[in-house]
């Protein structure tokens, strides 16, 4: 799997020709408001940006949008739920339920509307919805911002395991977390994306 892209995002960020491959965990840093989320939105074709995107040489616009967004997933920073959504309807197989238990989501909260759970619980359910998929690339926007140290460590371990079969791009306001996880680093400075190290 090779995901290649270049161009400009909606916020005017210039992205040089870049390739990412299976097994990579890319730590993306940049100041708040520098366009990290916009870059991720552009990569999943959620923004009408001027980015050229291709997976294994096949250009994005030649694929149905659902196919593109199944192969490249974007887990946004803020979870959002429909009124009726509950854990036990969102996760069905035993492997999926095992993941929830690993994340410390007690069975007691499975039948409660997710929108009524605590911020940290919501974030874990939100991230889990993407971790149960099998994409080529997973873009994680601040996946542990509302979690305690212990749960953060669990999520980090899950991210490492996930990256065996996929590429992961990760943003975080914790530089230490990016140091712990990343195999490559990108930084947004001004209006340019650059690879560091």
């Amino acid at each position: 799997m090779a995901f290649t892209f270049y161009g400009k995002t909606l916020t005017g960020l210039s992205v040089p020709p870049t390739t990412i491959e299976k097994g990579a965990i890319i730590g993306l840093s940049g100041r708040s408001g520098s366009g990290k989320s916009r870059l991720m939105r552009a990569l999943v074709d959620l923004d009408a940006s001027e980015m050229q995107l291709a997976l294994d040489g096949v250009q994005c616009f030649k694929m149905p949008p659902q196919t593109w967004r199944s192969r490249i997933l974007y887990c946004a920073a803020t979870p959002a739920w429909w009124d009726s959504e509950r854990i036990d309807t969102l996760f069905q197989t035993s492997a999926q339920k095992e993941l929830l238990e690993k994340l410390g989501l007690d069975r007691a909260v499975w039948s409660v509307p997710v929108a009524e759970l605590s911020t940290g619980e919501q974030q874990r359910v939100h991230v889990a919805r993407y971790l149960i998929k099998k994409p080529d690339v997973l873009l994680l926007d601040e996946p542990t911002s509302a979690l305690d140290k212990e749960t953060t460590a669990t999520v980090e371990q899950l991210i490492r395991e996930f990256a065996r079969d996929a590429a992961v791009v990760l943003t975080s306001h914790s530089p230490e977390q990016l140091d712990r996880l990343s195999t490559r680093r990108w930084r947004i400075s001004g209006t340019c994306l650059e690879e560091t190290e």
């Binding site: 999943v44 074709d45 959620l46 923004d47 009408a48 616009f61 949008p65 659902q66 196919t67 967004r69 199944s70 997933l73 974007y74 887990c75 946004a76 803020t78 979870p79 959002a80 739920w81 429909w82 919805r129 993407y130 998929k133």
Partner: protein, 264 residues
């Protein structure tokens, strides 16, 4: 035929409103001006419409009537577009407000005249003009309610919709809940009217027929006919409009395009 109402009795009914205005003044309710303006508008507008309808029915000219129908669709479109707190920018916004109710009123009126009532000639103005107005008015209320709900719901659930998209769902699946909510709201008045007719209120058209001597057993059949057509017409207008609204707020790459929405 039902007896004419004399100007004296009209004035007498108007005095009831004057009493309200007096009461409002004494109690400092501060609604005198609004009530007064609304009453004057009603009298002026209805007088004008009365003369226009009288003229139209007298001439029996279908071409002239078509022009009047188009002007009515124009007014209805303007009203629908003015109602919601948000609207799609540009010509698309006008189109999605107007085509649903226009097409629905034309189709339903034609169906009612040509197939069911069959007056001679089928476009007889005495039937065509009031039926068209009634169908258009109901469709207008439905579409305005639906669009207001739709744009609000989409704006509120933007993140949830994009969440669905980022897990590989199609835009249709991602938007189905706001679509359902909006269609339900838009068709609710028509459905409620059907459910409550006869129990809670007797519709004006039926009352008029009974007052003018028609047997209630015939009047109820006319009423059923009208209710079917009103509900079907409103639902058709609402559905045609929401299809266009969805189309206007999405693109070929199945993105949510709220940048095309203008807040006021």
């Amino acid at each position: 035929m039902i007896a004419d109402v004399s100007l004296t009795s009209l004035a007498l009914a108007g005095v009831l409103l004057l009493m309200n205005i007096g009461l409002s003044h004494v109690l400092k309710l501060d609604i005198e001006k609004q009530v007064g303006v609304a009453a004057v508008r009603m009298v002026v507008q209805l007088t004008a419409v009365g003369f226009i309808l009288d003229g139209l029915i007298a001439t029996q000219n279908p071409w002239l009537a078509s022009v009047v129908f188009l002007v009515m669709i124009g007014f209805a479109t303007y009203e629908v577009r003015a109602r919601p707190k948000m609207m799609v920018r540009g010509a698309r916004g006008w189109l999605l407000c107007g085509t649903g109710l226009g097409v629905s009123a034309i189709v339903m009126t034609t169906f009612l005249l040509a197939i069911i009532i069959q007056p001679k000639p089928w476009w007889n103005m005495q039937y065509a003009v009031p039926l068209f107005g009634m169908l258009l008015g109901n469709a207008m209320t439905g579409v305005a309610l639906m669009l207001d709900t739709f744009f609000n719901t989409i704006e509120l659930s933007k993140r949830a919709i994009e969440g669905e998209l980022t897990r590989g769902s199609s835009i249709r699946i991602a938007m189905i809940r706001p679509i359902r909510t909006a269609v339900r709201t838009g068709t609710m008045p028509a459905i409620n009217a059907m459910a409550a007719t006869g129990v809670v209120f007797l519709p004006g058209l039926m009352v008029g027929q009974i007052l003018s001597g028609v047997s209630p057993l015939i009047a109820i059949k006319y009423q059923m006919l009208i209710m079917f057509l009103l509900a079907a017409g409103t639902a058709l207008a609402v559905m045609l409009s929401i299809l266009q609204a969805v189309w206007a707020l999405t693109d070929q790459r199945q993105r949510l395009r709220l940048d095309r929405l203008h807040k006021r």
